[in-house]
């Protein structure tokens, strides 16, 4: 048959281009039919011409107008389709219970981690935001360099604030704070130790937001001995009585008159303030008020309020000039130099971890970051599970996709369906996660020392954030499976030749498993190193024996003067091995002062323990040269010093032996004879370095010597088996001498442990979240292993029939996964090494990161993975081949 002549191609193409697709077939068909008849009637040439005219005549609105979608296929999210999608999703959930549980549980645990950490971080970031001028308030941070050592101090000398305010117009206000360390406050029979007792300039009300309920701000802190107390404190001492003009006695001798009552500070404040005394009360405490002009006495926390729009960096740049002008002589004389910076109020809580001598409540921004990263990783691992299992199970859904496409589903509809499904999963998971969070928050609070509550945090904003997270997670987890599944070609799927396609997703699954295990292994390594380091700190030989040391502050001056008598009385009790009176304890307060070396004009800043004859044996500190103070030598009290090894090194003495006999001079604090204010003495002994500060810091030079007026506490070493009896005895002794006193004691090892509270919390949480992420990763692995075993049921059956051993099959099924886990470990190792080394740098005394830690973590990861996988492998391997092969 002769091929029919065809009309002009260009006209045809034009028609195809402009004509609405739903009309094209009939229109083109009619035109062709007419064309063929016209060839017969009028000849080809004319027919072609008329064809062109006919085509052009179709340039009419009706032919151009595209039909809107909803006329051919049902609306994408029509009621019926949505119902169908939901039904299919739920049926899949029911049919594949294991996967559903893994997916939803994994996601919900991941989300719960995120939610908890989110609440935690939000809480950490809330500090000090309640101050109305928070964005303009800065704290002065002073880095002091002396003797080649740098101390990052939160404290500044007293003239700093006032001078700044006088010199620079951009400083609107400044306030100095002097802190008592938990003094005993009494009113009639009420006696309590008050935390947060400070003296402050009256300008404190201009800088901070501290609303008064009684009294007025301009009057309250005027004159010596005036005091503003918080509502809680007022209730504690005065009950329902009017607290105004009542008298409170501090540490037995200092009298304050209450002139105002302020609202309790919110708990999210870096400063804990319960009582604010007027600054001029300093005159009652320090007889030499000239100290207030000293640029060397770093004892005050100084806050400045900048004028609106003032640039803190510019101000900071001007400070060295100011110091040069006002403080140069004093600083040069004592061989110190300052580098001062302005720390924004809102940064104090999280960014002060490095600062020494700080009363601020502290968090640590590093931990905030670390937790945020861990939370995201956990969620990521859960999302990966979802992706993995969805693509792995694609075979089950492939037929559905094929059928839907054949019936006329568009790809976008299918993508919508699968994304919707992952949203359903995520929604279920989120609901679970919220419940889970609510359930574990009390436990978390306990561990983290927080008081987070889901109910308190509930707000429209949180709700929106939760919904947003749900959308993001649903999208993240669902987008790949959605595109992967919707790309199936119906013809291949329905014919059953999809194997090659499923293999394609296999590459991605491998990658995801590798990432999951890399993250998990890195977390294991991290947790391991954190754990080891903290154990190291707790078990490191501190250079003295910190166990069973009980610290008892003296209740009054007479006790302090009678310390020798008390000590003898205590030692008569068989449960008390040793006792000593001192000012200066490891983990507690000690003096920072200066000594002179003959021949040098300048004071050398140095730490100082003021001790008695029994201090060194009681604490079990080792002497490396010379001898301890002895009552045999009457001169020891007035003419002897003991130093530590760090001092020997710092002073340039070549050996501890050489240090013996060197002369030191010290300005006495409370000279008994006004004519003799200098203690001139020789070094009689050198002690081995012992840790008296936290292990974040290096051991610094220390001088120990006898100075009775400074003693503030008795330290007793008790028999470990009779601690309770010893305490009972001590209580009796103290009450005998000071019946009005609250009997309080502290254990030295606990005091020392408080240095690492933040680290302990960090360790607990790190271990918790690491376990959770490993748990989720393992659930994913379990799902994959189950799936793989199912896929290979027949293969395993045949292998067994052919004589394969159970062990051989377990190896066969496990080795693929093990390879992936191994790759994960290889990737994780350098990353973990880098980050953990960074963390360890914050300790001056730290463990070395060693290869066996990685090996151990790797083995642990492999072990966990193997355990997970083998559960399925063994099940598959011991199956009777008859069952698996019977099917066909």
């Amino acid at each position: 048959m002769k091929l029919p002549l065809s009309p002009p191609r260009w006209a045809d193409q034009l028609l195809e281009w402009f004509c609405a697709p739903h009309l094209l077939e009939e229109v083109q068909g009619d035109l062709y039919e007419r064309f063929q008849r016209r060839i017969v009637l009028y000849g080809e040439k004319s027919a072609r011409q008329q064809y062109v005219w006919d085509v052009l005549s179709f340039l009419r609105p009706f032919a151009l107008k595209r039909k809107s979608e909803n006329l051919t296929s049902p609306f994408l999210f029509s009621h019926g389709m949505l119902k169908n999608y939901l039904k299919i999703a739920l049926r899949n959930l029911q049919r594949q219970k294991l996967y559903a549980v893994i997916n939803i549980l994994g996601l919900s645990v991941g989300l719960a981690c995120c939610l908890t950490i989110f609440l935690f971080i939000q809480d950490e970031l809330r500090y000090d935001t309640f101050h109305e001028k928070a964005d303009r308030v800065y704290r002065l941070v002073n880095d002091r360099t002396s003797e080649g050592r740098v101390n990052h101090m939160a404290r500044t000398p007293p003239p700093f604030g006032p001078t700044l305010k006088a010199q620079f117009p951009e400083v609107e206000q400044s306030v100095r704070i002097f802190s008592f360390s938990e003094p005993l406050v009494t009113h009639e029979t009420n006696r309590f130790r008050e935390k947060g007792f400070i003296l402050a300039d009256s300008t404190i009300f201009d800088v901070f937001t501290l609303p008064l309920v009684r009294g007025n701000k301009s009057e309250a802190l005027r004159g010596q001995g005036t005091l503003v107390i918080s509502e809680t404190v007022a209730r504690r001492y005065f009950g329902n009585e009017d607290p105004l003009n009542k008298i409170l006695t501090v540490d037995g001798n200092l009298k304050f008159r209450v002139t105002g009552v302020m609202k309790d500070l919110p708990s999210h404040s870096h400063l804990e303030l319960s009582c604010i005394g007027s600054f001029s009360t300093m005159r009652d405490i320090f007889s030499d008020y000239d100290r207030m002009e000293s640029w060397g006495w770093q004892q005050f926390y100084t806050y400045v309020l900048l004028a609106p729009g003032a640039n803190p960096d510019q101000l900071e740049a001007k400070i060295p000039g100011m110091l040069n002008q006002f403080a140069k002589d004093q600083l040069d004389k004592s061989g110190m130099s300052y580098k001062t910076s302005l720390q924004p109020l809102l940064d104090i809580y999280l960014h002060s971890a490095e600062l020494e001598y700080d009363i601020a409540k502290k968090g640590n921004i590093r931990y905030v970051y670390a937790f945020a990263i861990v939370a995201l990783f956990t969620l990521l691992i859960a999302c990966f599970n979802f992706m993995n299992l969805s693509t792995a199970r694609s075979m089950q859904r492939a037929k559905e996709v094929g059928l839907r496409k054949t019936i006329g589903a568009e790809r976008s509809q299918l993508i919508g369906q699968f994304l919707g499904e992952s949203m359903v999963f995520t929604t279920l998971a989120m609901v679970l996660a919220v419940l889970l969070t609510a359930g574990v928050l009390p436990l978390f609070n306990n561990w983290a020392g927080k008081s987070l509550s889901l109910l308190d945090a509930m707000s429209v904003r949180l709700f929106a954030q939760i919904i947003a997270t749900m959308l993001v997670v649903g999208l993240l987890a669902g987008i790949y499976p959605a595109f992967f599944l919707s790309a199936f070609q119906p013809i291949k799927v329905l014919k059953g030749s999809l194997e090659s396609k499923a293999k394609g997703g296999y590459g991605l699954r491998k990658t995801l498993v590798v990432v999951q295990f890399a993250v998990s292994t890195a977390l294991i390594i991290g947790a391991g190193i954190v754990y080891t380091q903290l154990n190291y700190i707790q078990q490191k030989n501190l250079g003295f024996n910190k166990e069973q040391l009980i610290i008892l502050p003296f209740a009054n001056e007479s006790m302090q003067q009678d310390f020798q008598v008390i000590k003898d009385e205590l030692l008569q009790n068989p449960n008390i091995i040793a006792a000593t009176a001192s000012y200066g304890l490891p983990g507690g307060a000690f003096a920072g002062d200066g000594v002179k070396v003959p021949g040098k004009a300048e004071d050398i800043g140095i730490n100082m323990f003021l001790i008695d004859h029994d201090y060194i044996p009681t604490l079990d500190i080792k002497l490396v040269a010379g001898r301890n103070f002895s009552t045999k030598y009457g001169t020891d009290e007035e003419e002897a010093y003991i130093v530590n090894e760090a001092t020997v090194k710092s002073f340039g003495w070549r050996s501890p032996q050489e240090a013996l006999g060197k002369e030191l001079l010290w300005n006495k604090w409370a000279p008994s004879n006004p004519a003799d204010t200098i203690k001139r003495g020789k070094v009689i002994g050198v002690v081995k370095d012992f840790h008296y500060k936290s292990l974040h810091h290096k051991i610094e030079p220390l001088v120990l010597h006898i100075h009775k007026p400074a003693y503030y506490a008795m330290v007793a070493r008790v028999r470990p088996e009779n601690v309770a009896a010893a305490l009972e005895f001590l209580k009796l002794k103290w009450q005998e001498r000071a019946p009005e006193w609250l009997f309080e004691y502290e254990l030295l090892d606990q005091q020392f442990a408080r240095f690492y509270e933040n680290e302990q919390i960090f360790r607990n949480l790190f271990v918790l979240f690491t376990s959770l992420s490993i748990f989720i990763a393992c659930m994913g692995l379990l799902g994959l292993a189950t799936f793989m075993a199912q896929q290979r049921t027949k293969e395993i059956g045949i292998r067994k029939v052919m004589g394969a051993s159970i062990a051989g099959i377990i190896v066969l099924l496990s080795k693929d996964f093990l390879k992936l886990v191994l790759v994960g470990i290889v990737i994780a190792t350098p990353l973990a090494w880098y980050f953990m080394n960074e963390w360890l740098q914050s300790f001056s005394y730290r463990i070395d990161v060693e290869w066996w830690m990685f090996l151990l973590a790797g083995l642990l990861a492999i072990g966990i993975a193997l355990l997970t996988v083998s559960f399925q492998s063994i099940k598959a391997a011991v199956m009777n081949p008859v069952d698996s092969l019977r099917g066909e």
């Binding site: 029919p4 065809s6 077939e25 009939e26 039919e33 008849r37 005219w53 009706f62």
Partner: protein, 112 residues
């Protein structure tokens, strides 16, 4: 009745669909009109009219068989719906009434 107003060409097309009964599609309708009226009809005009009539609910359509001369493309076959036949009937009734009310002597004579 405004909505169901039929243009002259539309009326022709509608009538032709009725005439062709089971095989009313674009080309056939055009050719039938050409045959009956002797005037040239563009195919696009027929399509436009059919399209409008379908929208007005007087016609419905389905795709029919394909033929070789159409290049394997299917025809769209049109069928009269009740509303369509009612419209035609109304027109016819109106015309008949008008014819009936014309006195025969008024019409000028013409030859057929």
């Amino acid at each position: 009745m405004e909505r169901n107003y039929l243009g002259e060409f539309e009326e022709l097309v509608l009538l032709t669909v009725a005439v062709l009964h089971d095989s009313a599609y674009g080309v056939a309708i055009a050719e039938e009109i050409e045959k009956q009226t002797g005037r040239q009809v563009t195919i696009s005009a027929v399509h436009a009219a059919l399209h409008r009539l379908e929208e007005k609910g007087m016609l419905q359509s389905r795709l029919g068989e394909a033929t070789a001369e159409r290049g394997g493309r299917r025809k769209r076959l049109f069928f009269l719906l009740a509303q369509g036949s009612q419209a035609l009937q109304t027109i016819r009734d109106t015309r008949n009434r008008l014819w009936d009310s014309i006195s025969p002597q008024v019409l000028p004579a013409f030859s057929i």
